[in-house]
């Protein structure tokens, strides 16, 4: 499906069709059959089902795991501010303090800016300290000489795609690219991660991102570069049909899982819950019948 001999990127929606087909079992559960007056057994009517890598990874650890509703914290803000600052660095002589000041100013009209404005004394500095740490690690792993050569996404760094005629919204994260993804010649997408993943999970997430880029923009990237901020290690995953096929399979499994969670499949009494390290981030830890791991 990928023609790597082409001199320029050409738009190809084949992967969109492939993914839509793979998602059909999951999306079918969310759509009321038109020919009947009432939902089919097991079907539900929901406004939106979000499918993201982190929720999928969380539920693979324990099917009952649930994330906290999103609320800004220094931990979330560090990536947003740090990423914005990354793009500002060349313009401020590679001074992190100035780049972060610009990033903060740029965020003033956003939800992040509103949250920063509500913080008590010491809160903004704690957030900026986290962002400074993130930024230094990002520059170190990318390479100071490479920062200006790359395109950095602002500020959400998300690729969203809604499955056709469905409330299923699939999303991926990409912090940067080796060129403007709208021209997309020899395109490399960059993930900056500050968690430690296994090689298999890293490849799965790379396939996930590559597929969503292909279905959203009609162009598959040539490679996905995963930069691990904690280990200062970069690994390049070449995007070929095998990786994209794996990506479709993972997206399909994650969508089925997200739909099952949304429709309450995992809330039955016979659901097997798996305590572990992930319990500390689970919104249900206070009411879990199994309880946090020792």
């Amino acid at each position: 499906m990928i023609d790597r001999d082409a001199t320029g990127a050409s738009v190809d929606w084949a992967w969109r069709e492939t993914l839509a087909e793979a998602l059909r079992p999951a999306t079918a559960r969310l759509v009321e059959p038109e020919e009947h007056g009432r939902p089919a057994p097991g079907a539900g009517t929901v406004a939106k089902v979000e499918v993201g890598w982190f929720d999928y990874a969380r539920r693979r650890a324990c099917v009952g795991a649930q994330g906290e509703p999103f609320a800004w914290s220094a931990r979330f803000a560090r990536r947003t501010l740090g990423l914005a600052a990354l793009g500002e660095l060349p313009a401020v002589g590679y001074r992190s303090d100035r780049a972060l000041a610009r990033a903060r100013e740029a965020a003033s009209d956003s939800g992040l800016g509103e949250w920063l404005a509500t913080l008590p004394p010491g809160g903004v500095e704690a957030t900026l300290a986290e962002a400074a740490t993130w930024l230094a690690a990002a520059v170190a792993v990318v390479g100071p000489g490479q920062v200006a050569e790359l395109a950095w996404e602002q500020p959400g760094a998300r690729i969203d795609w809604r499955a056709p005629r469905s409330p299923l919204v699939l999303s991926a994260r990409a912090e940067g690219a080796t060129s403007d993804h709208r021209r997309a010649t020899n395109l490399g997408l960059i993930r900056l991660v500050d968690h430690t993943a296994t090689t298999a999970d890293e490849r799965s997430e790379a396939g996930w991102l590559a597929v969503l880029h292909a279905v959203r923009f009609g162009v598959a990237p040539n490679r996905v570069i995963v930069a691990d901020l904690r280990r200062r290690r970069r690994r390049t995953h070449r995007v070929d049909d095998a990786l994209l096929t794996e990506g479709v399979a993972v997206l399909s499994a994650a969508s089925a899982d997200a739909v099952a969670a949304k429709l309450g499949d995992h809330d039955r009494a016979d659901t097997v819950l798996t305590p572990g390290r992930h319990c500390r981030w689970c919104a249900r830890r206070g009411v879990c019948p199994v309880g946090p791991a020792e």
Partner: protein, 325 residues
Amino acid sequence: MWAPMSDPSPSTLAPERSTVALAQVLRRVATDPPNPVGAEDLDALLHLLEGAARQAVDGLPADALPLRAPKAAIADALRCPRFALARRGLPFGEGQPDAQAKRRRGIAADLLVSHLLAGGDLAGDPRQLVLGAWTARGEHDELAALEQADDAERTRFETDCAELAEALRADWQGATGLVIDAAWWPRTQTTATLALADGDVLVSVRPDVELGGPAARLPPVIVEVKATALGNEHTFDLNLYALLVSLRDGRTPGALLHWSPANGWVELPPVTADVVESAARRLADAIGQLGALARGEPPQERPGAHCAWCPDAQVCPTSASTGRS
């Protein structure tokens, strides 16, 4: 072994006392950095640790992997494997009130340093600055624990914050502001993770402060911030950080510094091949002990000062605190 850069008496916190020394260290590292440990030496240490890690996870079931070795677990395992096992999984807030107060003081020191480096000064009520940092970081357990503390504990926390802030202003700020220039890219609570045995062993440390490094294009400098006086274990902590930062960045730090209100700035000996090798051998020992604990082997008992705050002290046959050792 240590070389205090100035009079360690806390009663002599004149602005010139430590800030001059810190500025001198940074200037020296920037202009005349020590020779870093060679890449071949670092590769040999990595090989040593790989061997220890593979041995440690040999036979471990998949659900016990990855074997995680954060700094606290490493330090505990080196002190006493039974102590490490007893402390593992201790819920938040457990432990004697005095230990909680010390822990809270240590966190306050870290947060005030973060504030100083990010904001450039420590203006305002230092206790409020710590509470504000906890709020931003979503540390609801810390806020709730302080809320539920009695008057004496809250007063102690307020006093600790004030004392730490005074010492930080004296030692980290000069007449024109923060002694550390922004060109050093000062940052706090950084992470250095080392994955061994194909990711089955994860060693991770979080140095309190890092300066320089690849982003700043300056040799790295590591600072350990302690609310209590310098102890022998802090030397190992810093050498362990030096090892992991070296393996992460491919370059050994140009200086290791310890700061506490009691001692001010103290510079540790240069990071040589011997220093990182010693840290690597101790780390290999700790990984082996943690692997044995994960396999459910009976933990070794090594009595010492740590018995005083070991949860198993009353039942351990070799505990120093029971007088039966």
